[in-house]
């Protein structure tokens, strides 16, 4: 009927348009209006009016509305004394029979007047969890079907799994929506009466003030499991848990943790009365699980309700219908046979693939063994010395871990329930894949640049090396030979040291001259290696830098030794000068009677060394400073490596795309009761109801970059400690930070022990 009417209307409209040539006339009119400037005037008028509206009408309206609400609120709500008095009175009056009722309500329910049935979980008498509203069904029939368990004809196993997660409870009917005229009914906590309307976002719940119940309605947005959203009480961790303790083997950190544990123990003795948590308070974790399952449960309920409604129309097919259907499905049957054949071959293909992969994994394992091999347990392995070896080690370990990680991620598909454990795996796996892919993309760009401009880059490197590490150093040594900055140095010692370092430097310059023709080839090789990722050339550059500046390192060692010896001799001669000596056995300073000749010689030597000290110190300062500069340069390269290897790129992208996938806890927002009550249709006397909105907070950035800040903290603690600075001042060798502490961040996404190949085989075969 409706289509017929529509067709008639269209016909009439078309006829009128054609009969009176409406379009031509409209065009003419428009043309006329345009020529006489009507359009411009209209726009001007519109603009002036709208400016007037925006400037005056809207502000005045806003101000009036605000003032009105402010007046109202300040008289009614925001008067603390008033409220407190009320609270005290209310508390004393109603505390005898006050029952707290908690209702969890999903926010995306249909907002209309249609009657329906509330279905959900009843966690306890006064703790209710609404899953969904079912429209167009009979309440008692649904209740019976749910009770007898015959409701879920379809998808029984998945609903069983959901019940498992949500505390082994069957769904039941909790009440009705828009069911009846509520005014005279009594309030039953077992059967709620609620009302929804399109004017309000919030459900209205019938609960008269005589019932002695106070209500909390907690509204939540149900997370969509297909989009991998979920709520969680604790922030999800991006690092592997079993590595957490391993990374913290810094002495200071262990001490700090012990101190904190002591404090916690002390705090436990603080509280005088301990109020045991009620059942409701303990069930929060389960409620979060229920919230996570809401979406799935709703889907299953919808399907089953449709089945329930359509069940009576079902009948068997007649013979002719069957013939038609089999004729239709010939092609499908053929396809089915083909598919079966493919499925028959599939395990073989998979097995061959797994075997090939295991072979590669075994090769990687062998390489890793070489990289980790130590001559003696206390000596450094290859990967501890060279950044390149370290980089290879990380990539190979990642490669070895991927099959297992992939297996874990794939298993998650079968089990949506325990989201909190499985999603971090997913994020970690794709984060490492993304990082490697990114690394390779940047690496290809860098590599092609290096290959094309190999000679230029080599020339630049050669130039800088020569100017700063050889010529610059030589010039500074020359400068030190002629009273630097007016400092009076001992001329003979100065010339000796200057000549010594100068000769070695000249010899090193000769060697670099030999090397420099090969530099373009080396750069070319580095360029080719960068197709394995941009981190590779950076690591290689870092190694190249340490090889090409090895002379500075040796100068530093030599000058530091001389300086340190001299300082310690001065120290002991100073004690001799005072008539004391160090008692090594008792570790203290004793008085000692020296002979006159001993004292004379000692004092002479002491004065001599004091006068020679500035000369040695000047050289030590020079080489220590250049050594520091190189260390800082290498640290910058290492930071680049850390960013390329461990940057939480995937997590950041997820945070931008859909922050619900990275939950960092939950938060509540109390809704304004006046605002909530405005939209309600039924006006009746109600007990106090608090509307609270439950939201998921996204993981804060500080938690994502926690490991970076931890690493920075460790570096700061190590290199800015008094011990290191005193070592630097006295010329002792600065103790390097333990490599495991430095690289714990990079390994935090990998397990400490590599799985055996047999385990991998078994897990992949499954």
């Amino acid at each position: 009927m409706r289509y017929l009417l529509f067709a008639i209307i269209v016909f009439i409209a078309g006829y009128i348009t054609a009969r009176f040539s409406l379009i031509t006339q409209a065009l003419e009119l428009a043309n006329f209006a345009w020529e006489h400037g009507v359009v411009g005037r209209t726009i001007k008028g519109f603009l002036i009016l709208s400016i007037f509206f925006f400037l005056f009408c809207i502000p005045i309206e806003r101000i009036v509305a605000r003032e009105a609400t402010n007046e109202f609120l300040s008289s009614a709500l925001f008067n603390p004394a008033n409220i407190l008095q009320k609270g005290v009175m209310g508390g004393s009056k109603s505390s005898s029979g006050d029952v707290l009722m908690r209702i969890f309500w999903p926010l995306n329910y249909p907002r209309d007047d249609e009657p329906g049935v509330l279905v959900g979980w009843r966690n306890s008498e006064t703790d209710i969890f609404v899953v969904t509203i079912l429209n167009g069904v009979n309440s008692t029939r649904i209740d019976n079907e749910l009770r007898s368990g015959s409701f879920f004809r379809k998808s029984r196993p998945s609903i069983d799994r959901i019940f498992d997660i949500c505390g082994q409870q069957e769904l039941c009917v909790l009440g009705d929506v828009n069911g009846f005229a509520a005014e005279k009914e009594e309030f039953h906590p077992e059967y709620l009466h609620t009302f929804t309307h399109k004017s309000s976002r919030y459900p209205q719940i019938y609960c008269p003030s005589t019932s002695g119940v106070t209500m909390q309605v907690i509204l939540f947005e149900e997370p969509d499991p297909r989009r991998m959203e979920f709520h969680s009480l604790t922030p999800i961790s991006l690092a592997l848990e079993d590595n957490g303790a391993d990374g913290e083997n810094d002495d200071m950190e262990i001490k700090d943790r012990e101190k904190q544990e002591l404090l916690v123990e002390k705090l436990k003795q603080h509280t005088v009365t301990r109020i045991p948590p009620t059942e409701k308070e303990e069930s929060l974790q389960m409620i979060i699980h229920q919230i996570n399952c809401t979406h799935e449960t709703t889907e299953i309920l919808r399907i089953n309700v449709e089945l329930l409604n359509s069940r009576r129309y079902r009948r068997a097919l007649s013979v002719s219908e069957r013939v038609v259907e089999s004729a239709h499905s010939v092609w499908r049957t053929a396809l089915g046979y083909g598919w079966a054949l493919v499925m028959c071959c599939f395990p073989w293909v998979v097995n061959i693939f797994v075997i090939i992969m295991l072979f590669w994994r075994y090769l990687a394992h062998l390489l890793l063994l070489i990289l980790e091999w130590r001559l003696k347990p206390e000596l450094a392995a290859l990967k501890d010395i060279s950044a390149t070896a370290q980089q290879c080690d990380i990539r190979l370990q990642q490669f070895c871990y991927w099959p297992l990680q992939y297996d874990t991620v794939r298993q998650r598909k079968g089990d949506l329930g325990d989201a909190t454990n499985s999603y971090p795996h997913y994020i970690r796996f794709y984060n490492s894949l993304w990082l490697v892919a990114n690394d390779i993309i940047i690496g290809i760009a860098l590599g092609s640049y290096l290959i094309e401009n190999g000679t230029t880059v080599a020339d630049t490197i050669d130039y800088y090396l020569k100017t700063y590490t050889i010529d610059g150093l030589g010039r500074t040594i020359q400068w030190l030979l002629i009273d630097p900055g007016g400092l009076k140095l001992n001329e003979e010692l100065d010339r000796f040291l200057g000549d010594l370092f100068g000769w070695v430097l000249n010899y090193w310059a000769d060697i670099t001259m030999q090397i420099s023709p090969w530099l373009p080839t080396i750069i070319y090789a580095i360029g080719i290696s960068s197709f394995a990722g941009a981190s590779m050339p950076i690591a290689l550059f870092s190694d190249l830098l340490s090889i090409l500046t090895i002379h500075i390192y040796s100068f530093y060692i030599a000058s530091a030794r001389i300086y340190n010896w001299q300082l310690s001799i001065i120290y002991s001669l100073f004690h001799l000068f005072r008539g004391k000596k160090i008692n090594v056995l008792r570790k203290r300073i004793d008085s000692c009677d020296y002979e006159l000749d001993q004292l004379l010689i000692g004092t002479t030597l002491f004065i001599l060394l004091i006068f020679l000290l500035p000369t040695v110190m000047v050289y030590y300062c020079l080489f220590a400073a250049s050594r520091m500069a190189i260390i800082i340069l290498k640290a910058a390269l290492e930071t680049c490596l850390a960013c390329l290897n461990h940057f939480p790129l995937f997590a950041l992208m997820l945070r931008v795309k859909d922050s619900k996938r990275l939950p960092g806890g939950i938060m509540f927002e109390l809704k304004d009761p006046v605002e909530v009550a405005q939209g309600f249709q039924h006006k009746f006397d109600t007990a106090p109801i608090a509307y609270i909105h439950l939201k998921s907070t996204p993981l804060p950035l500080s938690a994502m970059f926690k490991q970076y800040s931890q690493l920075g903290m460790r570096l700061k603690r190590h290199y800015f400690s008094a011990r290191v600075i005193s070592c630097l001042l006295t010329g002792k060798a600065v103790p390097p930070i333990h490599r495991r502490n430095l690289y714990s961040m990079q390994y935090s996404m990998l397990p400490t022990v590599r799985a055996h190949w047999r385990e991998v085989w078994e897990r992949l075969r499954k």
Binding site: P80, Q216, L267, I275, P277, E281, P688
Partner: protein, 193 residues
Amino acid sequence: MFTHPPTLQIRTPSPTTTEFIVTTRPPPSLSRTIVSVVVGSLRLVAFLTITTLLLSQHRLIPPWAALLQRDERLDPKWLYPISATVLWIIAQRSYTEESLLVIRSLGVQTSTTAGTLIGMGRKTRFIQTEKVRDVVINEGFYGMEVRFYLAVLVEGEAALSVVFPTLLPGRRICEQVWRGTRRCLYQGEKTKS
């Protein structure tokens, strides 16, 4: 003119749910509304000016607004720092608001507006009732003075979780909030047991 000594506002839709808000926002009045409108329009004008300057510096002004294009470029040494400072000042919030939401049977939630970005910087922390060991008022050194503060003792954590950490309202407000919190969290249970 823009801020006010910290005042306490309490919202209790039901005796089991209370929100305590401590804010330096002045109480609503006509003069404040006018001031906020003026400040808001000044902010908008400053933001538009800075954007136009920056766009015209890089010749990025779209063709329909070619009037705004300046021919000579400004000295980048001054332009960038000044525009960054102005943008930072624009983004400042004129008041601080901190709140404590107490929900019986769920827990307590502290929240703080971090003073920089409008709308974005709200830090919340929710503590389940299970984890709440106690709510206390304590004294602590704060710069050169001793201040009272309200804190939540959390199970298994060494650090106190301070409520209203930036405003640190006086003892009177702390006491009021403390009484309200304890009543809201525990009173029902006491009478039951």
